[in-house]
Amino acid sequence: MTTSYRVMPGPEHFLPPSAASMGIRLPDPGQGHIHGSIVSEEEALEEAARQFLSAKVPTIFPGPLVLWAWNDKAAKKAKAIRHLYETIKECVDSSCQHAMLIPMPDYRPKYPKINPEIEINPNHPNLTIWHNKIDACMFVGVHCHQANLSLKIIRGGTNCYTIAMCAQAGHEDAMVSVRDATADKIIKLADWVKKLKGSVAPPAEYSA
């Protein structure tokens, strides 16, 4: 099935269609996608790095699969995520860019509401995006259903660029997605950020 639909930053619609229903398909192993077009994994990682470097508030949202030390693999991924965050922080222009690392510790709807400064919740991820003026973000270690929910809400109501580093088959609803994520792949993304440092134009102004 071919489609002219592209997964682009929003705000798209109050209830955006799921990208899958618009004909966007998931990448095969070794591939990724950019805006719904299948590319090689390296290309997807490079694009993710570019987006981090050109954003005013590049942010990583680690989910419960990496926030909790379920096993050695999860602990390794957590270490790689911290490394990626530190790398982004080092590589961006601190006068106009502000890197963030905000957890999604829970999927439960919280009452009366979450504190958007310190966490993100899949039932209203837009609150955290709006509050911190986040314009590029990456989900990692979030269970697929909750990631899809968040990605759709973000695409629907914000202009944030979304990246999904998925341990399973990837996410159509993200603008860039890589599949079969491992700690090594996260480190590879950090390497791309380092490699592209200085070659990507920083944002024109900083208003966060």
Binding site: V66, W68, A78, R82, P103, P109, Y111, N115, I118
Partner: protein
């Protein structure tokens, strides 16, 4: 889930909101002696709740969660009603069932857990309102007891459908007029504790939640008896202050008034013979543990 797995990844510990850090550092998972006295000293397994100010149900939740003997290996099954507003804030595995299905869901769950974890105690505790337990779910409640399913059923009895505005329930007292039951109840409150006893429950208690130490005792007894012998049932009066025309501060007094000897929530307990034996055995072990601890303490100070 084993408590050893409740561990935040070291590299990301600092970014976790403080309530999660507290759950790992200051909660009472794995503490065999946990009880209501931990409230205020240790991290509770309930976050801010979304119930009305002064709701006795919130007290009941706190006491129950503080008293579960094995929270890291307990699954709670809830149903429709005010309790379902609280479960999202509870740090114990829980399942929301369809209205009335809770005892059927718990039956399957308990059996599956027994097969999956033959060497470990996995406790299942149903917590539902009187509408779910006695009206809509009565079939499921009774069938689980007939089948001698090994889990605890707790009914938060507020004597009406509070969450939907005050309709008549089976546990409402005779003659009571509620906002959506203007004629008044025409028949007696269903005597579920007696029915539970006749249906095969091995430990049955009917009381209010005015006394935390009593709640701790009955929760622990009910869970232990359900684990080893068979079904147990607790009917706890948690009045809906809004629906009975009381103020936020009057919930506790309402419970105290309702537990007087001639009132409908006067303490009532039924314990089967096998359950009596088990509880006596547990009490003896506890006595022995305390004596040993005392001896060790004396040895240390000598």
């Amino acid at each position: 889930m084993s408590k050893e797995r409740i561990k935040i990844a070291e590299e990301l510990f600092d970014i976790m909101p403080v309530e999660y850090q507290d759950l790992v550092k200051r909660a009472t998972y794995g503490n065999g002696q946990r009880g209501w006295k931990d409230i205020g000293n240790a991290k509770e397994l309930i976050e801010e709740h979304s119930l009305c100010a002064g709701c006795p149900e919130s007290m009941a939740f706190r006491y129950i969660l503080a008293s579960l003997p094995n929270p890291e290996d307990t699954v709670m099954v809830g149903s429709t009603g005010c309790t379902s507003l609280v479960f999202p804030h509870v740090a114990v595995h829980n399942i929301h069932s369809l209205f009335g299905n809770q005892n059927a869901v718990a039956s399957g769950l308990k059996r599956a857990l027994t097969v999956r974890f033959p060497d470990r105690h996995k406790d299942v505790v149903v917590l539902a309102g009187d509408g779910a337990t006695v009206d809509i779910g009565l079939d499921m409640t009774l069938q689980a007891w007939f089948r001698q399913e090994k889990f605890t059923t707790i009914c938060f009895d507020n004597e009406l459908y509070a969450n939907t505005g005050g309709q008549e329930s089976g546990l409402m007292q005779k003659g009571f007029v509620a906002k959506m039951a203007p004629v008044g109840k025409t028949f007696e409150k269903v005597r579920l504790p007696e029915i539970a006893r006749e249906s095969g429950c091995h430990y049955v208690v009917n009381c209010t939640v005015s006394k935390p130490n009593l709640i701790e005792k009955v929760i622990k007894n009910a869970v232990h008896v359900a684990r080893e012998i068979g079904p147990t049932y607790l009917q706890l009066y948690t009045p809906c202050i809004l629906e009975i025309g009381k103020n936020s501060m009057e919930g506790l007094q309402e419970m105290r008034d309702s537990e007087k000897p001639t009132e409908r929530f006067a303490y009532k307990e039924y314990v089967s013979e096998p359950a009596k034996e088990l509880l006596a055995e547990l009490a003896a072990k506890e006595k022995e543990r305390k004596a040993e601890a005392k001896k060790q303490l004396a040895g240390q100070s000598a």
